[in-house]
């Protein structure tokens, strides 16, 4: 009976304890590395936020509409804090993988290698999105002002359309960079964008024939404008 207990319970437990004892220092090292990573991530976050404030980039974010865009997306953080937070999680993830690597598990080593190779794609995708948000807001605003000054009634729609197209374009480029459903995304974008352009062409072509004719008539037959018609100003503004 004794030998049975020793074989079934004691020996496996001894083996387990022995393996645990052998492995424990590695786990502890991994844990220390991860805790150090947490500390470093916190320092990096503070440093990044401080640098952004020192360079007065918050004003640039405000002007470029990034702050506004974040608020619209219900993001409560300022862009500086958001970037700080991104760096924080980047360092945490890197140190998490490093801590697993210290434990010398082959699968983790492979994962780490792949992640490090993939990291530049994430960075480029983020840059593309940031440029997209900036350009989208800038050109959307420019379209709004220009269309209002030209007396176009659907100026809000035009502005939002311009902004959305640019953001969509940036999102597609970012997804393509990340390699996510590459062919599907590109095909979808092409179909949607082409569809919009075709729809607009048909709408203007069929619905705006009268308007186009009126415009051309006014443009080339100014002499015939009668006294009761919509005459242009003769104001010299300067």
């Amino acid at each position: 009976m004794k030998s049975f207990i020793a074989k079934v319970v004691t020996e496996p437990l001894q083996g387990l304890f022995q393996k645990a004892a052998e492995y424990l220092p590695t786990v502890l090292t991994g844990l220390v590395v991860f805790l150090l990573g947490l500390l470093l991530a916190w320092v990096v976050k503070l440093f990044v936020v401080r640098i952004i404030r020192l360079l007065k980039l918050e004003g640039a974010f405000l002007r470029s509409g990034v702050t506004d865009a974040l608020q619209k997306m219900a993001v409560k953080d300022t862009p500086a804090k958001l970037i700080g937070r991104m760096f924080y999680w980047l360092v945490v993830v890197i140190f998490f993988i490093l801590s697993l690597s210290v434990m010398k598990i082959p699968v983790i080593d492979e994962l780490l290698g792949r992640f490090l190779l993939y990291l530049p794609n994430i960075f480029v995708a983020l840059v593309i999105m940031a440029i997209g948000v900036f350009l989208g807001n800038f050109l959307g605003r420019a379209a709004l002002i220009a269309s209002v000054n030209a007396g176009i009634r659907l100026s809000g729609l035009l502005s939002k359309g311009a902004r959305t197209v640019i953001l969509l374009f940036a999102a597609v480029m970012a997804l393509e960079q990340l390699g996510i459903a590459r062919s599907t995304v590109v095909a979808t974008f092409t179909i949607v964008f082409g569809g919009i352009v075709l729809a607009l062409a048909l709408a203007f072509g069929l619905g705006g024939r009268g308007l186009a004719a009126e415009f051309l008539e006014k443009r080339f037959k100014k002499e015939g404008t009668g006294p009761g018609e919509d005459k242009e100003d003769e104001l010299q503004h300067l």
């Binding site: 002007r63 420019a142 000054n149 919509d230 242009e232 100003d233 300067l238």
Partner: protein
Amino acid sequence: MADHHITLSGEVRARIAELGSVDILVGIPSFNSARTIGHVVRAVEAGLSKYFPGSRSLLVNSDGGSTDGTMDVVRQSGADFDSILLSPQDGRFHKLVTPYSGIPGKGSAFRAVFEIARELGVKACAVVDSDLRSITPEWMELLVKPALEEGYDYVSPYYLRHKYDGTITNSIVYPLTRALYGKRIRQPIGGDFGFSGRLASFYLGKDVWETDVARFGIDIWMTTTAVANGFKVCQAFLGAKIHDAKDPGADLSAMLHQVVSSVVGLMEEYPGVWRDVAGSEPVPTYGFAYSVGLEPIHVNLDKMLEKYRMGVTDLAVLYQSFLPPDLLAFLKSLADEPRDRFVFPDKEWVRTIFRFALACRRKVMSREHIIKSLTPLYLGKVASFVIETWDSTAEDVEQRLEELCLAFEREKPYLVERWERKARASVKPRRST
């Protein structure tokens, strides 16, 4: 002071070497002005011959690449001395026709004129627009003589214009520059100026030739630079200003942007000059004042009001980032008023302009976007002004503009205390007189 040369062509340099030195230089910037420039050239030649017979003078046509033969017209045009009972100057009047280099615009054309003036060591200069129909030989005397003989450095034009002509000047540029710098220069962006050779060299030393100054902004820049740097300034009464429409299709918001952007840029350059100025003083005015009949101007009020209403509604999302809530609420309430009750009060207009200047200063968004978004509000103010003064005489309108100017002067502390909050303690307004 930094000196910024442009490269005059070898041909021009050879001509300069041939001329040696001249006393008076008159510059005419041009671009496709073949229809009108001949009259301007004849008036300039006749004026110089009549009023400065003993002086060596040079007419410089600084052209922006005309394709309608403008430069040929300048070369071929000459005063008909028999009809004006004068004798031509004996070898004292010269012409130089040259295309300018740099950003296309009046400023770049003037830069070439300044450069030639400096190379020739001229005593007095004048510049006149190429599309003028009302220029007479007397303009030369009035623009050049104060600089040549009376010790003035800058001669600003004083025209008679239709009551609804020059609306950017009347509603923004004149009252604002008058309130800022304390000088009552009625046409700060008039386009035709006289100045000393000393001031031409000073202008040339400024690094502005790649900015909006090189385009429409040159006029206000010349006036403000002269005033802010303490040059002696006067006005010359030139009578009526009748000229071809600049470009009927020109974008109003682009014009507004270039002019107002230049004004704000100058405010940023000279805060120490304008911050402490309170009130304003008249500047000496030369010339025999008289009144003239002016052609009526058609104004499409409904269109202006429609653009104002559309702008206030659609651009509110931008305005709320730099206009205070009470002002924005007022602008919105005004949009609901019918035409006969549409009144844009001076105080609200002045504060609107100041808020736009402050928004540019604080860079709340691109300067171009800020200023171009002013267009509907400007049209609202012009519409209000037209409604209010529909039956008024030119004198009454001038009086009404005086009230607007005084409103700008009264409200100036509102701008000063917000311009540079840190400098608030040092702001002690004083009278300019």
